[in-house]
Amino acid sequence: MDVIESAVGAQAGMNIDLRAGHAVLSHSQSDDGDLVLALDVAAGNVELLPRTPREEEIVTKAEKLLSTRRPIYAYVGFLHPELGTVGLIVAPGWARRSLFVAVRCDSGGLIGGYGGFKCVGEKCEEMLLEVAFRDEDLPNWSGEFQAEVKASYEGNAFNYVSGQTPNFEAWKDIRVECIRYAIDQGEMDRRLWSWELWLQDGPSPAEIEAIVLSPENCKRMERLVRSKPEVIPRNLRIIYGKVDASGVWWLNDPAVHNAFLGA
């Protein structure tokens, strides 16, 4: 299948206005629960609510350090297949309207000491405070993020959204140690440097630019389009995952990367 790679090199020197990615989780007992929820959210029939965290204790600990409420989590320019099979790509307006904390990496991973974060040990809470933006510091997050992408990916945001390892040596925070540790241990994971957003409410239908489907969810979508086409919002962009001779692609292919860049 041919996917058009956008000329994202043109991002160099420009304002990087990346979209947010949120993996939908319905907790439904139905196999198509996540897809139905994503379509309902995109149609404005239901509001997206915070997911119940996988590890409640760890996540709650991180949340209490930085706020008083449970957020809806999203990553800047990133959807992780481990977190779901249906993803939403949401316009930057969502963060402008609803953001209350931004973190330079995955907060739960940092507090839980997962993967490359294992090296942080007991100072994890202190380190989380160091890499987070909130309260009066919050408005600075976007400028800091843009500066980081420009400096660490030679201005090419496509390299960030496609998960390439950044030039991190000049960074001044705990992530440097974590990435080095992950490289040593063979446990590289882009959550070590992907920026996390904490949002107070769900995206509006107008803010949802696309839904991204795993290959099995594409099949569920095909059933819907032939049986209940009315449940699919008319102007919703739908990005299919795919299977080819190199394996299974979902949430992480050039079409998704370009969608994060607004292409």
Partner: protein, 395 residues
């Protein structure tokens, strides 16, 4: 032996799929995800796996130990295999439309609620899915019966594959349904930023329809030329090809040995045997398909150098008729020719005792030969090829 724990993307009873698989290499190791393109062997925390299972985004496998997974890592620890899944309902429905899955599911050694699976290289799984889709498209275009049902079943394999789309388009009940299908294909392509154009798409679908109506699969008559190393089966295949071509029969010839030599130009006979054996064990359908696809097939196809029952079954699954032409030769003749080809008596013995030669013995035992040619010097290859061509054309 690696333990296969779960399938990601929770394939359903209705589907036949390639899905990522979670594998634990040994008791103390962290589970890893395989089969995701560009992300081989990503570590999956146990908590994350449990959450995926709880939230119905992954499917737990029963038992866990898998020979197919072990084989994938035995030769290459860095491989990135994928799981092939066949759901119970898919299997039943496919069978009821005359599109059985038994042959492509022969080595499946994993079970989960609602279906079964095996672990294999992604090229192999993709080849099997494609081959089934081709058979299904033929059913849609040729029989007409159950065409719409078969087309929607193809959606449960690879919904946006060109074969599936051709089937959906041409099985539509009327023009408005056809237009709706086309409009959906265009939306999916547009949304995923794939090149699209309505006229081109219509034209392309029509071209595909014509191509598959006339194409190699099913309608092509295959003759597999088999024989021990040193029996001159390759020569026989060449002469038989020339005989048919001289009679203006639309014939094509491909060769397993030729394909292997293309892959490893500098390899000796024994190394080519090793490579062939490995490809048969790891990826039989992909191997067979790669050999067949080297040339555009005509109405008749001569396949030289078949040795394994597994490949014979793959060919029989792909094509409606597979004749077997066996070339035999005396022990003396075989040894003499091999000696000329590989050198020392030890090398001759090494070639003769290789697993591929043993596999040929099994093939000969189990598969009825359509034409058997005792090449004992009483008749020339030229002569027997003439007999074959006469018999073949008459058939």
């Amino acid at each position: 032996m690696p333990k296969t724990i779960a399938l990601l993307d929770r394939p359903s009873r209705l589907s036949m799929s390639a899905v990522p698989v979670v594998i634990q290499h040994h008791e103390a190791a962290m589970p890893k995800v395989y089969g995701l393109a560009k992300a081989p062997g990503s570590i999956l925390q146990s908590e994350a796996l449990n959450e995926l299972l709880r939230s119905r985004q992954a499917l737990q496998l029963v038992g866990g130990e898998s020979k197919s997974a072990a084989m994938c890592f035995a030769r290459d620890g860095n491989s990135n295999p994928v799981a092939m899944w066949i759901g119970d309902d898919f299997e039943r429905r496919a069978g009821s439309y005359g599109l059985p899955t038994e042959i492509i599911a022969e080595e499946f050694d994993l079970e989960a609620a609602g279906g079964k699976a095996l672990v294999a290289p992604p090229e192999e799984v993709f080849a099997r899915l494609q081959i089934w889709l081709e058979k299904a498209l033929h059913t849609v275009l040729e029989s007409g019966k159950d065409a719409r049902e078969v087309a929607t079943l193809m959606c449960e394999v690879i919904p946006d594959d060109k074969l599936t789309r051709t089937a959906l388009y041409f099985s539509a009940r009327d023009d408005s349904e056809r237009e709706a299908e086309l409009s959906w294909f265009r939306k999916v392509d547009r949304d995923s930023r794939r090149p699209t154009n309505q006229k081109l798409t219509k034209l392309r679908l029509s071209e595909l329809k014509e191509r598959y109506k006339e194409d190699i699969i099913k309608k092509c008559v295959v003759t597999a030329v088999i024989g021990r190393s040193g029996s001159q089966h390759g020569e026989m295949a060449k002469i038989a090809y020339s005989k048919l071509a001289a009679r203006r029969v639309p014939v094509t010839k491909v060769s397993f040995g030729g394909y292997l030599r293309e892959l490893r130009a500098s390899a000796n006979k024994s190394e080519l045997q090793d490579l062939g054996q490995r490809l048969v064990e790891e990826r039989p359908f992909h191997f067979a398909r790669s050999v067949i696809d080297r040339k555009k097939a005509g109405r008749y196809l001569i396949v030289d150098g078949l040795r394994h029952l597994r490949i014979y079954k793959a060919l029989s699954y792909m094509f409606e008729k597979v004749h077997v032409l066996m070339v035999d030769a005396t022990e003396e003749e075989v040894k003499r020719r091999l000696s000329k080809e590989v050198g020392s008596a030890a090398d001759v013995e090494s070639v003769r005792s290789h697993a591929t030669e043993k596999a040929l013995e099994e093939l000969i035992r189990q598969v009825p030969t359509t034409y058997k040619i005792p090449h004992d010097g009483s008749r020339t290859l030229e002569h027997v090829a003439e007999l074959y061509a006469n018999k073949f054309i008459a058939a």
